[in-house]
Symmetry: D3
Subunit: 250 residues, 6 copies
């Protein structure tokens, strides 16, 4: 089975970067995947995209060695299994608040005896290889988002969920939940930064990876400097946003 | 009928800017249209997009006052009429090389007695208004691309085509055709610049507008300075391209 | 942020009408939205349509001032948030039977501290404005359908759910659940009419709006006369149904 | 091979009615096809629809015995053959102005030795039967639209094109071309009516069928009364238009 | 209402075969449906397909008398009702482990008073007939998959769920769950065979049908010989797989 | 730029096989591409597929080293350029009958100074490499189908078209045009076989490759034995057809 490059990078003591895909468009995904990112995250929670878009984007990303992660809309077993069957090498679940929720999420993503994932990969076999079912549990990444006060409180128990591979901070929602921001990206206020530090430390203490979302180079570099293993540096929609500054050109 | 804002700008002695849509994605189109551009060009020639994408993009752009232009793949009457029926307020035809080709193009875009466009607008009535058929000939823009040595040679005859509203320079193809470039965008070599100047002058001499494609602010400003009435400043795909510089962030 | 015209109408003591969109087609939606309706409901429960259709229909409706409501298939947090992120100004949930279900529904639709909606609107920012996240809780409508005997029994508790804006009667299901009809639309039997009256009174007693579905002008007028704040008068599929009477023309 | 019900009706001395499909939506097409129409016309010229929509609509119509006709955007061999391969039992070409154009159109729709259609039906074999290639020339209808002054002038020569099955009047374009109307549907002015009469007589004199487009029951009945063999009585979009009168209901 | 041919076959003491649709493609579905199968299963759990694909496939299959079953991704009320509204004549739910889960599944698929299905069929009325709502409970099949050790243990209680029509064995998952196989199809090991026998006997003891999935003619014949009422013989993806043996042709 | 594996095989004195894609489905394309074929042909003439399907299929095939060829519906410059821009490494044009038609076809596929292809690749740059525009003329294959009596007559002149890379026999159409078959695949009658031999010899005499379509292993082997450089061995739809023999399994 094709190895998971993110696991390889981390095993080699390296960090990985990530570009978020918020447009839900396969051609944009293929452009981004060819830019040299270690990984991309296909967003199905907040992007105007659905499963079929993810399928097309997974295919597009598979023309490169960039690792495709998919964020599902919610902790739904059907959705989790379908993006994995389609070839995601990482699956991210938003808003994990308790260890029970984490166990449900991880269980949906793992074949027996570790979980309850149903056998029947489609593109995953083409992308991963003929031994996909046997190797998937050890290859595919499960990523739980910590992005609420409650998730923060339960971060330690969540991090210890058997089979979970990463805690991933959603800083916008975290600040909104803590009441310290209005939901903006790249928050730098102290309470949110403290929460970020705590999640990072909790993940590493549990022996799993830590990741975080950002949309500016400065924020991303600060997060890499803190020690995050995976940092989202920008999004395709953020890149498009630079057009606003040019719209006054005459 | 909703007036054509580009005609209004030019009547007021102003110039108009343009953002090119090369991703073929309606959400990207809506983001761009909300950035304040005077117009966008939905590309069906070189973008990975077809008529149905254009339809969705026209709808998305119609949520703003940004003027939607569609570039058709070729001088095909069916294509020209279908994008107009769908609500394009400008239609651009690539590679017009002769006055005959220009006449064919304009004829397809105009109702009798000026042309042979068939009656039956769909979204165009919703976007333009109930009097669309009566007012379309005077409202919708027809734009011929000059982008070959042959087109350059015949530019004067083309510009004099009754009902044609603009000559639009395709500098990449023009340089490739002249043999002075390898087809790069924003060419600054003297032969291509001379050709650009000639086309600009020819359009204005014929009393019609002149437009040109570019992908950098510097090139666009230089073209506005020359006197072009419509200049493409950037494209959605170009904006995405900026991600490449960030892909090394760690 | 763009105000919600339905809230404005009600504040001004007026009633609002509604056309239901059962075809799941964006062009049909745009035609209907241009007919002058105060609002439309994009149905994802019983129409042959999914999230991507709703996205296209929301875009199409956004070319007018008609208020777009989306009915989700079930009380699923992911679905509720995704249609709001896409720009729905009202979200309707079918078959709310208990106050707990109502609280789950409303919670999914409201940002902290009122609920658990995750930050990350996409089209909603383009449609609503840059201050969307800050103003959404006060702008977007949450609408609970009462359409079972159990929901009827719990209507008062449901109506008092903090943050709920409307009870909306589903008369077909209500009659079917009460056992008084076979699920037909526009029921006029006394038990169903009594149930309708009770839901209307319960909503108004709780200080929230009351709405109801119908497919004939006569039924709709009767419901407006009862005092409903929002009444569905017809559907796009119902309008198509009139073709049956013409199919014998020869 | 499944017989063409329109040919059967005409052989039996009966007339056939038709509903036009202008929405480009397969579910709307299936609703209409179940209403009892003899035939439907899937419009690819003026509807916001493309080949893939036609394919889905042809499939939807194939669940009934209603005969599916497709109008292609223009006299393009590729388009003509593709809708036939997909199972259209009639193909209509807009704006046939000369006998040469008619011959090109018919040639594209007929297998050797009558024409140049390439072998390779897809859905057509499923819909028509295993002997499709052998029987298609005698089964599938070719329909030329006469809708310009020039077409009117050449109607006789067009009607005599070997293999052509019907002249179909496009009254909106015809009136616009003659300069007697502004392109409205169901024209009743004398010059257009005279032209209609002439086309009808010309078709019958040549031993082929005559058809015409309309959108009201009154116009359709008048055309049946004149002797037209196929008359379009309404369109799906026209039916939706009735919603406008209801949008004031309160 | 159109009768359910599977119920008719079983009433006549016959068995039914089935072809699984794993490609998610409507044209492939139409090809398969024309091959003479008694039924097809449109898979939404493991195929790269979603609700809109199922809708298109249901339409394609409706051009024949082949009975369309849809397998939903999970025991979700919204999904179950939507595929039925779209015209599925059987709905299959994966991984039913308990009687409670079975009751939830069946309840979602039945109208009151047997369940909580909401009234509002769309294609189902076109496919089934005008009396769909009244007859659906007695016509549409509900099929529970037994494919885990837990489901096996609870098979008897599951089989006795009022309104359930069939137990359907998922042998790949069953073997994986039992730990006797690695999830391969068509398992012949004794423990899995014993489990298969037990499920078959349990279904028949409860007076309902028994079905099973397979991908080879040999396995299917063995299952028919055991007494299964419905057996999946192959899948469209399995048929494509035969291309591998030809790829060395030179 | 990524080399064209077909050119490499031929340079090495080897032959290449091909699988035809008639389903128009990206997942089927990805399955086939992973089976080890040297090349696939994405059919846009007779398959129920359009440009957007080809785009998705090209992306899917790009996850392997299999060479993607696209057959366009007709000799249309727009279509030819769009599939090349999307990353086709070979473009096939049906029914080339004259040297003029061949020159038009090849001209559309080549950049200046060899032709008139417009600069602006999209996926082609991602698939081929940054130097795509400079290297495309020498990399991309142009393939003319000879499949009529007229094309056969002019085969020599067609084969000598500068820049043409292959004559490709369409045996079904050829037999139909010659009047020796009813359009069946894999024809073995002497006149068609003689014509096939002549086209093969003509191509090789002109120093270009020869290819042919077939759907059985036996026919393909016979064609390889004759000396064809590229032979289509089967199609995805042909593979599905094997299901018919299984549909009687009980």
């Amino acid at each position: 089975m094709r190895p998971n490059k993110l696991r390889e990078l981390w095993s080699a003591g390296k960090k990985a970067n990530n570009c978020w895909l918020s447009l839900g468009n396969a051609y944009a995904a293929e452009i981004i995947a060819h830019q040299g990112w270690d990984s991309v995250t296909i967003d199905l929670q907040h992007a105007p995209a659905d499963y079929k878009d993810a399928l097309a984007m997974l295919t597009a990303v598979s023309t490169t060695t960039c690792v495709p992660i998919v964020r599902v809309p919610s902790n739904d077993s059907g959705d989790i299994q379908r993006v994995l069957d389609a070839g995601a090498y990482g699956v991210m679940c938003p808003t994990i608040n308790t260890a029970e929720e984490a166990a449900h999420f991880v269980g949906a993503a793992r074949y027996a005896p570790l979980g309850v994932r149903s056998a029947g990969p489609n593109r995953a076999v083409l992308y991963g290889g003929a031994d996909y079912t046997a190797q998937a549990n050890a290859t595919v990444l499960t990523i739980a988002q910590i992005e609420t006060a409650k998730g923060l409180q339960n971060a330690d128990a969540i991090a210890k969920t058997p089979g979970l591979d990463m805690l991933f901070v959603g800083p916008s929602d975290l600040g909104l939940s803590l009441g310290t921001t209005d939901g903006r990206a790249n928050p730098t206020d102290k309470p949110t930064q403290d929460a970020i530090d705590k999640i990072l430390a909790t993940a590493h203490a549990a022996g799993i990876a830590a990741g975080i979302f950002g949309t500016t180079e400065a924020f991303a570099k600060a997060m890499f400097a803190k020690g995050f293993d995976l940092v989202t540096v920008t999004t395709d929609a953020t890149l498009l946003g630079a057009g606003k500054a040019l719209a006054a050109t005459r």
